[in-house]
């Protein structure tokens, strides 16, 4: 089936053929023909954001909460460069996106034309792949290839840079019949010999632990279900990275909580002391491993990853398995059932006893207050009051993000959207807009800080325009809390530029946008205020005034190992002289 149409029309047709329902964008000179094509159709819904970075984060929130590819449309020059932070974010967190950027007409490329920039050059390092379309004949193939590359293998963002003259040109649109790519064919099925060896290693383990990551979420709900099955078959403890939260239910007694820099005591010690580590879709990020030469010193490691470059990058794997999590987990479950291995039961129960001992430390304990709202308490109440609903949570970046990861419990995958690898302040509100669009009847909450929220605040206007009743829950401590925490720990409490001065009145601000503002500074009123927020069917900014000096614990200080974590001084571990435990070398680290 082929039809003659303009390049701009081909863009819309290809999106339709890919099943795209919503796109996030911002018009400009170099994409006007595409916007004209949008005007002439009603199958694809365009969401007008207020900043191109917001468009990309919204597409990320949409993609991560729905499992579909997020689509972005921006203009050339500043449109493209504003999108770069979002693209880098999607690259680090493996989010499938297709970002179409306008470009000046082909005959002007290289002439420093108005709003010209080298988009493919600039985005080469922060996209999985990118294209500059030089002829109308290539356009249909490139558009469909972009979706294939974005969503197959390890997902990621793909940029299609489309010069304006090509948008006007007439050409023949053909929908490709095969989605086989000439060169890019990632391995999805794991090597069976290695999977058998992995199952054997697991069967003989005395102190095993599952270390699961965002790859399980990216692999789809089926992978999460298989992970649960395998975990329950084996009875092994399960930890998760920040990106993997929800793939395994937080309420399950086999779940030890998040692992890493602000992970739980039991998770990190289990990682440190285990003899077999089963990494499913995680990448041994430095936030997880801490000091590499002291990382999990007694373990044999199985590493399942769809990206061969993740294998042996930071930590050597004894059994590397390249493949998609769902495929490999399916094989593991099947072989486990077939072989019905005899576990070393006394060793495993001794291991669980040890873990229960660590759990008893109650590392997430904190001293609550009747006078000021403790941020941990605020998240706990938010969780308790929303847990019976279909709830999607996004965050900004900082202390509030870590508290949300620690105290908000996720039972399902795709419910938790956060900027993990890139650590982008400003991610949460636009991501919430995208998630709300994908799930119009769900409760979508952006857990934010008063500093982060100001980076993408303009997207409140988008939420209002499209009746997306997102809830922005600000833990307002009038500090860039994580910066302040590090300055306290590492720089003698010299709070250089980490104080949030001249803050807006968030209640009035919400009202100025046409939303609802709620402020709460009294623990006694907190529940009622949260309920009011939940029951408001419009965008809300909730200004939760919290303790200004609370720090985020547990914490593995930079340059330290998993068994050298700091706990809350309430638990009697660290005390006030916390800075002295981080040596000079640690201060160099991020």
């Amino acid at each position: 089936m082929s039809e003659t149409m303009t390049g701009a029309e081909m863009v819309i047709r290809a999106l339709q053929d890919q099943g795209v329902e919503h796109i996030f964008g911002y018009p400009g000179g170099a994409v006007l023909p595409i916007y004209d094509a949008i005007f002439h159709q009603d199958k694809i819904n365009h969401v007008l954001v207020r900043h191109e970075q917001g468009a990309v984060h919204a597409a990320e929130g949409y993609a991560r909460s729905s499992g579909k590819v997020g689509v972005v449309l921006v203009t050339s020059g500043p449109g493209a460069t504003n999108a770069v932070t979002g693209l880098a974010d999607a690259m680090m967190d493996s989010i499938p996106l297709v970002c179409i950027t306008g470009q000046v007409p082909t005959h002007l490329i290289g002439s420093d034309a108005f709003q010209e920039c080298d988009t493919v050059g600039i985005t080469r390092h922060c996209t999985k792949h990118n294209y500059l379309v030089k002829s109308i004949e290539d356009l249909p193939r490139i558009l469909h290839e972009a979706f294939y590359v974005a969503s197959n293998g390890r997902p990621g963002p793909v940029v299609v840079d489309l010069p304006k003259d090509i948008q006007f040109k007439q050409g023949t649109y053909i929908r490709p019949t095969s989605n086989q790519h000439k060169t890019y064919r990632p391995t999805v099925k794991g090597d069976m010999d290695k999977i058998r060896a992995a199952v054997e290693l697991m069967a003989n383990a005395k102190r095993p632990v599952f270390y699961t990551g965002g790859g399980v979420v990216n692999s789809g709900p089926h992978a999460a279900a298989l992970l649960r099955e395998l975990a329950h078959l084996t009875g092994f403890p399960v930890t998760s990275t920040l990106m993997g939260l929800g793939a395994f239910p937080a309420s399950d007694k086999q779940f030890l909580g998040m692992v890493g820099m602000h992970g739980t005591y039991e998770s990190n010690l289990a990682m440190h002391e285990c003899d077999v580590m089963i990494n499913i879709g995680a990448r041994f990020d430095d936030r997880i491993t801490g000091r590499l030469d002291a990382f999990s010193p007694y373990s044999k490691r199985i590493h399942v990853d769809i990206d061969p470059s993740s294998i042996n990058k930071n930590v050597r794997a004894d059994i590397p398995i390249i493949g998609d999590c769902a495929h490999v987990l399916e094989d593991m479950v099947r072989i486990w059932r077939q072989t019905a291995p005899q576990l070393d039961k006394p060793a495993i129960s001794a291991w669980w006893e040890k873990i229960e001992g660590w759990r008893k430390r109650n590392c997430l304990g904190y001293r609550n207050s009747n006078e000021t709202i403790k941020p941990q308490h605020a998240i706990q109440r938010l969780y308790e009051l929303t847990k019976d609903r279909e709830v999607y949570v996004t965050t900004e970046v900082g202390q509030h993000q870590m508290w949300a990861a620690q105290y908000f419990k996720f039972e399902e995958p795709n419910r938790w959207m956060t900027s993990g690898g890139h650590g982008t302040m400003g991610y949460g509100l636009p991501a919430a807009v995208g998630a709300q669009l994908a799930h119009p009847n769900a409760l979508v909450i952006d857990i934010a800080g008063e500093a982060s929220i100001q980076m993408m605040l303009q997207e409140m206007s988008t939420a209002l325009q499209y009746n997306l009743p997102v809830k922005v829950f600000i833990l307002n401590n009038e500090y860039m809390g994580m910066v302040r925490q590090w300055q306290e720990l590492l720089h003698g409490g010299r709070y250089s530029h980490s104080y949030s001065d001249s803050l807006p009145d968030f209640v009035k601000l919400a009202e100025a946008y046409g939303g609802v503002g709620i402020r709460c500074d009294n623990p006694a009123d907190l529940d009622e205020a949260i309920l009011k927020m939940i029951n408001t069917d419009r965008p809300v900014i909730f200004d939760c005034i919290v303790d200004k000096t609370e720090n985020c614990f547990p914490m593995i200080p930079s340059g330290k190992a998993h068994n050298e974590m700091l706990l809350n001084d309430y638990l009697g571990e660290a005390g006030t002289d916390i800075g002295s435990v981080i040596d000079e070398k640690g201060k160099m680290l991020v």
Binding site: V120, G121, R124, H125, K128, H129, L132, K134, V149, G153, R154, H181, K182, T183, Y184, D286, T289, G290, R291, L292, D293, D307, P308, S309, I311, N312, K313, R316, G559, E584, K585, M588, L589, V590
Partner: protein, 182 residues
């Protein structure tokens, strides 16, 4: 405070650094070289030499030969990172495939009179270099050989009036009947 370059956990193993020659078969599309060289610079890997040209015109396929150095872990990482680039068809580590044939071509211009000129001619003859251009005061020689031979030739020519060098970098191929693409 001496570890200013270490932003993240310190390197944990001290491994020997080896020289590897990689052959990379890619689609000859715009920007493919920038993708490859950008991956090296972006991730802090070395390129000692890089040669590229289209080898199959109908299929628009190019073969890139890169000489790089790194520990075994780094070399493995370089290959994985190359392999996951979308336009890359195939990556072969010629060093691991055995004693690969490696050659490069250099052009040298020497200027001089008298004894220097005579000595330059003798050296060129000894190395089997071809004379591509000659004037009363200069020669342009072409030498094809291993990197070591080319280095030696250039070093000797420096003493007899070398003014300019142009080198292609290494082109390489595994020995034996097998091609690199399985």
């Amino acid at each position: 405070m001496s570890q200013m370059s270490t932003h993240y956990p310190d390197p944990t193993r001290v491994e020997p650094v080896n020289r590897h020659t990689l052959a990379i078969v890619v689609d000859n599309e715009p920007g493919v070289l920038a993708r490859i060289s950008g991956m090296f610079s972006g991730r802090g890997y070395n390129i000692e030499s890089l040669t590229v040209t289209e080898t199959e015109h109908e299929a628009h396929v190019s073969r890139i030969t890169i000489v790089t150095t790194g520990t075994d872990t780094i070399i493995e990482q370089i290959k994985s990172q190359l392999d996951r680039l979308v336009p890359v068809h195939y990556v072969a580590d010629l060093t691991l495939l055995g004693d690969a044939v490696e050659r490069e071509l250099c052009l040298v211009k020497v200027v001089g009179k008298g004894d220097h000129r005579v000595e330059a001619m003798r050296l060129a003859a000894a190395f089997g270099a071809r004379t591509l251009d000659a004037t009363l005061t200069s020669f342009v020689y072409e030498l094809t050989g291993t990197t070591e031979e080319v280095e030696r030739f250039i070093k000797l020519m420096t003493a007899v009036g070398l003014v300019e060098v142009s080198r292609t970098g290494v082109a390489a191929m595994a020995r034996g009947a097998e091609g690199i693409i399985p």
